[in-house]
């Protein structure tokens, strides 16, 4: 699949924003969120900026962005519509939570209740994003049980790493949050490696035989219907060289997981000044790392329509 930057940025940025909101809600629910206005302004501000930036970015790939509001109408059948509604609905409990925290300087009681609703809405939104991809049968690498948990894990991971850095920078380090970040990064790394392992071993459900109805024997594409690339080849026929994929997987692991893991562990073990720098390094490494991971998510996904053009057969040889 063609890796469109506006969608990659949307899923990565909004994922981190919703992850951050979810973690804030959980902390409020267990009474571990300090009712500090500066902390509230910084953490909610970053989360909402990431979400708003992501949502705006997601409209850039539309052919008719001015009609984007219509996407809220088909919640009964479409995961994209459900995602849109959930993403907008999340602003309601988040707004109440922000009023409680920033205006009344409280994160407990009814404000914590709003926080729980905010967490639930954020998780539902990210799960809906995952379902958009997981429900597409023509793309075997997405249509697996790995996709939805991956979106949830990566959202919580990036959100926790962000919050850890915000807490450290505001001199309110929280060992529990740092530990949670460490666990989330480890879980994310394991999940990504398991996903790649699974995807590399996928036996294609569809063959060119069943795609053309020609049973038995090898079916080989000998002539395309057109001499220039058409929409299908540009959108679905994107191919990435195996050696590049292997290198990018190493880079994704280095930046999204390995460096943040080391930095977060260092933050847990070192003096506050060093810990501050380490937690910021974790964020700065993970940002490009998660973008590479998401780029690969698209670039390595193969659509069944490429069978008709003999592209998968050529890639296997």
């Amino acid at each position: 699949m063609h890796p469109t930057f506006s969608i990659i940025f949307f899923t990565a940025a909004a994922g981190a924003g919703y992850g951050l909101l979810a973690v804030l809600g959980i902390l409020a629910a267990v009474g571990q969120l300090p009712p500090d206005r500066i902390l509230g302004l910084a953490s909610l501000g970053i989360a909402l900026a990431l979400i708003a930036g992501g949502l705006v970015s997601s409209t850039f790939h539309l052919g008719r962005p001015e009609r984007a509001w219509r996407a809220l109408s088909q919640w009964r059948s479409s995961w994209l519509s459900r995602e849109g509604i959930a993403s907008l609905f999340t602003f309601v409990p988040t707004g109440l939570f922000a009023i409680g925290w920033l205006v009344c300087a409280r994160t407990d009681g009814i404000v914590a209740l709003a926080g729980v609703a905010m967490t639930a809405a954020a998780v539902i939104t990210v799960a809906a994003t995952g379902m958009i991809y997981a429900s597409l049968k023509p793309i075997a690498q997405w249509n697996t049980r790995f996709t939805v948990p991956a979106y949830l894990i990566f959202a919580l991971m990036t959100g926790t790493v962000l919050l850890d850095a915000v807490l450290a920078l505001l001199d309110r380090p929280d060992r529990a949050v740092t530990m949670a970040a460490l666990i989330a990064i480890g879980l994310g790394w394991i999940w990504k490696r398991a996903t790649w392992r699974h995807n590399d071993g996928i036996a294609p459900a569809v063959t060119l035989n069943s795609a053309t109805g020609l049973k038995g024997g090898e079916v080989r594409s000998i002539e395309w219907p057109h001499t220039e690339e058409n929409y299908l080849l540009k959108e679905m026929g994107y191919r990435i060289a195996r050696k590049h994929a292997a290198r990018l997987r190493v880079l994704a692991q280095l930046f999204a997981f390995a460096l943040p893991l080391v930095a977060t562990a260092a933050a847990l073990l070192t003096a506050p000044t060093l810990a501050k720098a380490a937690s910021v390094i974790a964020v700065l490494a993970q940002a490009p790392g998660i973008l590479i991971e998401r780029w690969l998510f698209f670039a390595e996904a193969r659509h069944t329509v490429t069978l008709y053009y003999g592209l998968d057969a050529a890639a296997r040889r």
């Binding site: 958009i132 597409l136 053009y309």
Partner: protein, 244 residues
């Protein structure tokens, strides 16, 4: 709504005969010609006469080599929307622009509602939907709704443009929900198949596989040419002259 009708009164669709298709591309150009002025018009072309021409097409003809037990065979394969019984392109649509008609099962796009998010093109395993880069909306085969119900056309012309154009009669149009229709009979008699049945989209269009080759047609009677080795006479003299 993008919910699918529980059942459709009719299942209009195409039956495509891979045995008789010769890959002449007449259906492809005829489709483009009709639909450039039809209900999904325009089918935008970018840079049509220059390098890297790009355009929207509803129907494409691929060519494959099918290696089977009785020898290889070239198969021309027209690919277009199959008007599936459970089209995921419709249910994933967030705006309600995509819909399947309860009356005849035709899958259509309301281009006043489409936002061009392209999710339907991802959801279609057959590559039936394309983005019109100028209009910013998705385009697809309409089964020529503006021909098959068109009272201004002669009754014999009320078929999709691709069917009308086919010079070998490889394309058939009719109601595949009616077991007694000529197309349903054809599917029964020739063992018509669904494309990618394992994905469960329930395509309405059927493909008729090439007929098995008649016994004995594989022997090629022409012998290999014997090397010309003239020993004497005029040709022998020429051969000697040229060989030196």
């Amino acid at each position: 709504m993008t919910d699918l009708p529980a059942a459709t009164d009719r299942k209009l669709g195409l039956v495509i005969d891979l045995d008789t298709c010769v890959g002449c591309q007449a259906c492809v150009t005829s489709c483009k010609e009709w639909n450039s002025g039809g209900s999904m018009a325009p089918l935008t072309d970018l840079n049509p006469y220059g390098a890297q021409a790009h355009g929207v097409w509803f129907n494409r003809v691929h060519a494959y080599e099918h290696g089977c037990t009785d020898g290889g065979r070239t198969v021309h394969f027209p690919r277009s929307c199959l008007h599936c019984a459970t089209p995921a392109c419709v249910t994933v649509c967030p705006t309600g622009a995509s819909y399947k008609r309860a009356a005849d099962g035709i899958v259509l796009i309301d281009d006043d509602k489409c936002i061009g998010c392209q999710l339907c093109s991802w959801a279609c395993p057959y590559g039936a939907r394309e983005l019109d880069p100028i209009e910013g909306v998705m385009k697809k085969c309409t089964l020529c709704v503006d021909r098959i119900y068109n009272d201004n056309l002669e009754p014999e012309d009320r078929v999709p443009a691709c069917v009308a154009a086919c010079p070998t009669g490889a394309r058939h149009f009719g109601d595949l929900g009616d077991a007694s229709s000529p197309v349903s009979r054809l599917v029964r008699e020739r063992g018509g198949v669904d494309l990618m049945p394992e994905l469960g989209y329930g395509p309405v269009n059927k493909y008729l596989p090439p007929r098995p080759r008649a016994a004995g047609t594989l022997q090629a009677p022409a012998q290999a040419l014997a090397p010309a080795d003239p020993a004497g006479g005029f040709l022998g003299w020429v051969d000697r002259l040229l060989s030196d």
